[in-house]
Amino acid sequence: MTEVNRSLITRYFWCLDRHDLESASALQDPEWRIHGLARHSLGLEEWLQRLDALFEGFPDARFTIHATVAEGDRVAVRHTFSGTHLATFCDVPPTERKVQVNAAMVAELRQGRIHQEWLNADFLSLLRQLGVVPKPVA
């Protein structure tokens, strides 16, 4: 079961990596929600809006899996987001900077589909890499 789950999550990331949101969302169940992107959990529509904005700001956006840990009905993924800031993103005009952001997520699967996700991404680092937030003084 853990291998089936791991394969599904790997495929999910492969769809995101290709910006194929239709195929990615087909792997989610109807009640799917994602925690960690806002104070409240997001459903499919809000998540799609955010990803559209991300792909607009970073047209070459990539998602790369570094490690997966699977147990029972959960799969954890350590991954990175990378891309070039070529269009306005979160009101920040394009800087043309290349960014790489560490991230980790835990997915809970139910009946062969992703039921919910918890995502952490180093958005503070992203803002620093874009020059929006000053880097810490050593």
Binding site: V69, E71, A76, V106, N120, F123, P136
Partner: protein, 143 residues
């Protein structure tokens, strides 16, 4: 060591070292040459357990009522992933921000690799750093 044992040991790290401030626990659970892939605050030095002790000391000075709660653990082979929430009141300087008295509540995902003796040898973490800064008022929240 079994996954269950590693999960129990990680639980101890949070409960005894982080939450209760029992510094000796760092040497019980963390290998001397453990690798931490996450950047520690400047000025921290020594072996891995010593560095962790210094980090926890700083964190507990900043948030004296620090509490790390484990929401879920996923273990496989030599690795345990913990989904955690950290709460605390900002009563001491933290990352250059003087005490604000504000309460924080941030989520994190820790990834911890153990050796065959159950010692922690490698660590990665991704936490809601931005959320932390926003909750402390250091950065604006989105409209």
């Amino acid at each position: 060591m079994s996954v269950q044992t590693n999960e129990d040991r990680l639980q101890r790290l949070y409960e005894e070292l982080f939450n209760a401030g029992k510094m000796a626990v760092a040497h019980e659970l963390v290998a001397l040459d453990a690798v931490d892939h996450e950047e520690l605050p400047p000025g921290i030095s020594g072996t891995a357990p010593e560095q962790l002790q210094q980090f926890v000391t700083q964190l507990r000075q900043a948030f004296p009522d620090l509490c790390i709660g484990v929401e879920d653990m996923i273990g496989e082979g030599d690795t345990v992933v913990a989904r955690t929430s950290m709460t605390g009141t900002h009563k001491g300087e933290f990352m250059g921000i003087p005490a604000t008295g504000r309460a924080v509540d941030v989520q994190s995902i820790d990834i911890v690799r153990f050796d065959s003796q159950g010692m922690i040898v490698e660590h990665w973490a991704v936490g809601n750093n931005l959320g932390m800064m926003q909750q402390l008022g250091a950065l604006p929240e989105p409209a």
